[in-house]
């Protein structure tokens, strides 16, 4: 990337990164909405989904966005207007901040933090603030209940998520996401390096906990009490319409994509292919075409993970709030703690 970017000025580089960030957030969000929310859900319910806008309804998303942009931006009379207006921006900002540390290729990254994992998990909880603000400022009892549920839930599931990631960090010996990718792809399983060493295999428990926590963090169905359309109308989003609702909507699905990106980095080997296939040994050997191929590999892995997230979403009923908390504190956190201990013991042993 430095070879490529050395010829363009700093502002150009910044612009390029901003553009890349927007693409990395919006493209997966659009793909997820079309592929999974429109089509896969319809197929699972034996219908076809949108078919009119474009071939097989592929332009439906643009129609939806156009519809939302046209709608009136309603503000409840007794709402705290500043907080009400800024809340969706904060939710969306958390997504954009999150994508900043995801590596998409050997040189295709936005920032290369040493403490990338730490940053990602810290930034992901910013969206809680936005949701709480939205719930509180709407001056609506359903919104308030939804916002409070969201706060309780997201905090409860932040912990197992962090603890699940700790196992990966111990195994990789680094908090840098790029190093975690390299460690997986350059690694070997008992000397056999045909697959590298994706942590999905060694950290399967961590992967499960991470995906469950992601499901809760994204407020997808078994854990969607903050939105819970049959109980709380639409939770913290009840009073939002038009453009601001669109921001929540993009935020929801873009965050799904970004979390799937992070999960694929942490557990599925990220952008890389097993280095032994091409005879690479470290990150410096990796050919330049991986800067194009890497993002595509990432996209494929992301879609696979989001498929599972959405599949569960379309099949399951939801928990109750207290059951969810019980599940987080009594099941997930102890299991992840045991996982960390086991990982550290094995790390020292081998």
């Amino acid at each position: 990337m430095y070879a490529l970017l050395s010829s363009i000025p700093y502002w150009g580089e910044t612009l390029l990164r901003l553009l890349g960030g927007a693409v990395a957030v919006l493209l997966p969000a659009g793909t997820i909405v079309y592929l999974f929310l429109f089509k896969m859900m319809s197929f699972m319910q034996s219908r076809l989904g949108p078919m009119e806008a474009g071939p097989y309804g592929s332009m439906q998303l643009f129609a939806e966005v156009g519809k939302w942009l046209q709608k009136e931006d309603l503000l409840p009379e007794r709402a705290d207007s500043f907080v009400f207006k800024i809340a969706p921006l904060i939710v969306l900002a958390s997504t954009f901040l999150l994508v900043a540390v995801v590596p998409f290729g050997p040189d295709a990254w936005f920032t290369n933090f040493e403490a990338g994992v730490f940053y990602a998990l810290a930034v992901s909880s910013v969206s809680v603030l936005g949701i709480l603000m939205a719930g509180w400022s709407s001056a609506n009892k359903y919104s308030l209940l939804g916002g409070l549920r969201a706060a309780g839930q997201l905090i409860a599931y932040e912990l197992p998520m962090i603890l699940a990631v700790v196992g990966v960090v111990i195994q990789a010996g680094s908090m840098n996401l790029q190093n975690i990718v390299v460690a997986q792809n350059a690694g070997s399983i008992f000397g056999w390096d045909g697959l590298g060493n994706p942590y999905l295999l060694t950290q399967f428990v961590g992967f499960l906990i991470f995906m469950i926590a992601v499901q809760a963090e994204l407020t997808q169905t078994p854990f969607d009490m903050p939105i819970a359309e049959s109980e709380l109308v639409s939770g913290y989003m009840t009073e939002y319409s038009g453009f601001r609702f669109l921001m929540f909507f993009i935020g929801e699905f873009a965050t799904a994509g970004v979390f799937a990106f992070i999960a694929s980095v942490l557990f599925l080997g990220g952008w890389g292919v097993p280095f032994s296939w091409f005879g690479w040994t470290g990150i410096n050997d990796v050919d330049n075409w991986m800067n194009i191929g890497g993002p595509l590999i990432m996209l494929t892995k992301m879609l696979g993970l989001v498929f599972i997230i959405m599949w569960v979403r379309f099949s399951y009923p939801r928990f109750r709030e207290d059951q969810l908390q019980r599940f987080a504190w009594k099941v997930l956190i102890p299991v992840s703690l045991v996982n960390i201990m086991a990982t550290s013991v094995l790390k020292v042993a081998f």
């Binding site: 319910q45 034996s46 009892k141 209940l145 549920r149 169905t221 379309f314 399951y316 939801r318």
Partner: protein
């Protein structure tokens, strides 16, 4: 704008909440949550006023009447044939079942009886409307609990049953097929074979719902032990139908009373459950839907031939008298108390609809549950707004 009526209600709520506050050490103020009349989970326009402490319900009361259409009064200014077109709309999902008790009451007053074939077809259509009604409940249950897929399955497969009803009667939702003395018409050719095929599909639908929803541990954790109605409480509140059978009362009007219908001509089983919780109510309904498909098939096997209409005068005048007929409708016991003064139309009709009695237990049942359980319990009680408000 606060209306005066609302103010009175609010004062009442506050006094109720004050009672509930006695045991709270730290003085906190509860929140009154107004669920409905426009809320995605109230199947129409039921309003539930709930006083909450956090997410726990201290006190809740249903407030109905937002969709009152005044059927009892409307029937007084209609002739007997016209009333069936109206009573169709009371429980709009199982509309054929609404016609039957009224027509039976009128027939009882006129001292005539429909020919056997008409009784058979009536029973078949009655069971079909039960399947159409309860299959939508099974799908809707999923939506109330957050699973979006079952309701699409329900709409998909209910369509086959509605097609059958439309093929025979001409009306998908409101058949208006029953006449005093029989039926409007016989079945069209090919209908019986089609029905057999659809009944197989409906059993597959029941299996799908069982796998998708009833076997799901999340569903069980949401419904088991939630909203338990003990046997004696259910009887005291005058509940009926599957809600009563789920509390362990073996009571089914199809079996327990003798009507000129064909239920007693075939073998079938009354399903009961002893738990009385939400899961039991849903489970009993699922089993009944499956049982209904068998009832329909067995009735098709034994259907007699002959006319579907007895001799009735062209202008129907029902002799003076009173009659009470109730049947086991999809929602529970539905009955008509018909008073005739010998005119073209009834003098007075009292409609006993199942949902009104079934939801009268709601204030008792919702005390102390969590907000999500309000929705589960209401869904499992299964009411239809038209049936409550009439």
């Amino acid at each position: 704008m606060t209306m005066i009526g609302d103010r009175q209600q609010l004062a009442y709520i506050a006094s109720q909440a004050a009672d509930a506050r006695v045991n709270v050490e730290l003085e906190t103020e509860g929140m009154t949550l107004n669920i409905g009349p426009q809320h995605p989970a109230t199947h129409g326009t039921l309003r539930i006023i709930a006083r909450l402490d956090g997410e726990q319900v201290l006190w809740a009361e249903p407030s109905c009447g937002y969709m009152h259409r005044g059927y009892e009064k409307l029937t007084e200014v209609r002739t007997f044939p016209q009333v069936t077109a109206l009573v169709n709309r009371i429980d709009w999902l199982g509309s054929f079942a609404n016609e039957v008790p009224f027509i039976l009451a009128a027939e009882q007053l006129m001292e005539i009886e429909a020919p056997p074939r008409a009784q058979w077809i009536r029973t078949i259509l009655f069971e079909l409307s039960r399947i159409a009604n309860v299959s939508l409940f099974l799908g809707d249950l999923g939506v109330q609990l957050g699973a979006i897929t079952p309701v699409f399955f329900a709409f998909r497969d209910r369509e086959y049953v509605l097609n059958l009803i439309e093929g025979a009667t001409g009306g998908r939702f409101h058949p208006n097929f029953d006449r005093i003395g029989g039926l409007k018409d016989d079945l069209p050719a090919g209908w019986i074979d089609e029905t057999r095929a659809v009944m197989k599909k409906m059993r597959k639908f029941c299996d799908e719902i069982e796998n998708l929803l009833f076997g799901n541990e999340i569903f069980e954790s949401r419904t088991r032990g939630i909203g338990v109605i003990p046997r004696d409480v259910a009887l005291q509140y005058g509940m009926s139908g599957a809600n009563l059978r789920a509390s362990g009362v073996d009571w089914d009007l199809r079996r327990d009373q003798s009507l000129p219908m064909a239920w007693d001509k075939v073998d079938w089983k009354v399903w009961t459950h002893n738990d009385g919780d939400s899961y039991a109510r849903c489970w009993v309904r699922l089993q009944e839907t499956r049982e209904s498909t068998y009832i329909v098939e067995r009735l098709l096997d034994t259907m007699p031939s002959g006319p579907v209409m007895t001799k009735v005068p062209r202008i129907i005048k029902v002799p003076e008298g009173e009659a009470w007929i109730s049947t086991e409708n999809p929602l529970g016991e539905m009955g008509y108390y018909v008073v005739s003064k010998g005119d073209l139309g009834p003098f007075r009709v009292k409609i006993r609809s199942a949902s009104f009695n079934n939801i009268s237990i709601v204030p008792w049942l919702l005390k102390g549950v969590y907000v999500p359980d309000i929705i589960t319990i209401l869904a499992s009680l299964y009411f239809i707004l038209g049936d409550i408000d009439r």
